[in-house]
């Protein structure tokens, strides 16, 4: 079966797209799948450091597109997970160095030998974003439970639908249950109701994510971490497995509200 291209995007910057890409990629590789992560944020290379692979870069995505190297030469294999690869973004070029059809071509070549190609989209709705969604079979939109992030997610979900890449699937990142319980943060169920889209993951706010980024070791590789588990659950759902959503607080029938919304959305 040909590999699947999954694009991770958000509209707003800083909501955790690159972290989600690294972790979903690592979790899929942890399940034994052959995975390539592509950093499509040309000019602002980031996925390499989150994955801890920055010292091994020789060639990048623009080198591949412009024919300076073979695709295999730009792929960096992770030493911890041997079925995980990275194609880094160019650091010294801009988003116009590649086109949506270049991305299609690169991804089509990768589909032959790999199970999942995870594309990390830049923020915004311009060329870089268009490049990132062009090859997508599935689009995952990352948002935070925060007014401006939800608004931008809604715009992106609309564009993804208009481009016939929908329905988009939502990751709600950085939920802080203490704040939700105090009534000072939108609950996952509220965000889901506002955006009226399929949910694929809820990730708690966790300082350990910064620690794992400091070390260049995605938290999904930490078997004991709850946040890592949230990313591993997303990876399982990506493969089509029906993984129930963990109750977030065990009160007020929160889980019941979520599952009700999911059922309503799938009818």
């Amino acid at each position: 079966m040909a590999g699947q291209v999954i694009t991770i995007t958000s509209g707003k910057g800083g909501v955790g797209k690159t972290t989600a890409t690294a972790n979903i990629g690592a979790a899929l590789a942890g399940l034994g799948h052959k995975v390539v992560c592509i950093d499509a944020d040309i000019g602002l290379r980031n996925l390499d450091v989150v994955l801890g692979l920055e010292n091994r870069i020789v060639y990048d995505l623009v080198d591949v597109v412009e024919g300076r190297c073979k695709l295999r030469q730009a792929m960096i294999r992770d030493k911890r997970l041997e079925t995980l690869f990275l194609i880094p973004a160019a650091q010294t070029r801009d988003k116009n160095a590649i086109s949506p059809s270049d991305m299609q071509r690169v991804c089509d070549e990768l589909r032959v030998d790999y199970d999942y190609i995870i594309v990390d989209s830049p923020a915004g709705i311009e060329r870089g974003f268009r490049n990132a969604i062009a090859p997508a079979d599935q689009v995952i939109v990352v948002t935070n439970p925060e007014v401006s992030a939800v608004r931008d997610a809604d715009r992106i979900i609309g564009i993804v639908e208009a481009e016939e890449k929908g329905p988009a699937q939502l990751v709600i990142n950085r939920i802080n249950m203490d704040m939700v319980n105090k009534g000072d943060m939108l609950a996952a169920a509220d965000v889901l109701e506002l955006l009226a889209v399929d949910l694929i993951g809820i990730v708690p706010e966790d300082q350990a994510v910064l620690v794992s980024t400091n070390r260049g070791s995605p938290i999904a590789m930490d078997k004991k971490s709850k946040t890592g588990q949230a990313f591993r659950d997303i990876a399982e759902r990506v493969t089509g497995k029906d993984v129930p959503f963990a109750p977030q607080d065990g009160e007020n029938g929160f889980f019941g509200r979520i599952s009700k919304l999911i059922r309503a959305g799938s009818n």
């Binding site: 007014v147 809604d154 609309g158 639908e161 009534g183 939108l186 506002l194 959305g265």
Partner: protein, 88 residues
Amino acid sequence: MAGFLDRISGRAKSADSAKERLQLLLIHDRTNMPPGMMDDLRNELLEVISRHMDVDRSAVRIEIAHEGRSQRLLADIPLKSTRPRHGN
């Protein structure tokens, strides 16, 4: 309990404000219609309808509702009871 305390202190939960603001915001973003334009639409609609029917302007409700990700314009325009027309 927190809700009760908020009520007696008169402070609404900020998450509720966020949700209410987003509900309106997303409707206007999705329809590409700035909030101020609803008033223009309302006035123009009433102007046209009033040419043909006697409208109870004070009870008119025009709003955009959403079902999932699709929107619809809802207009509830009560008519004043009219005398039967001549010839009927």
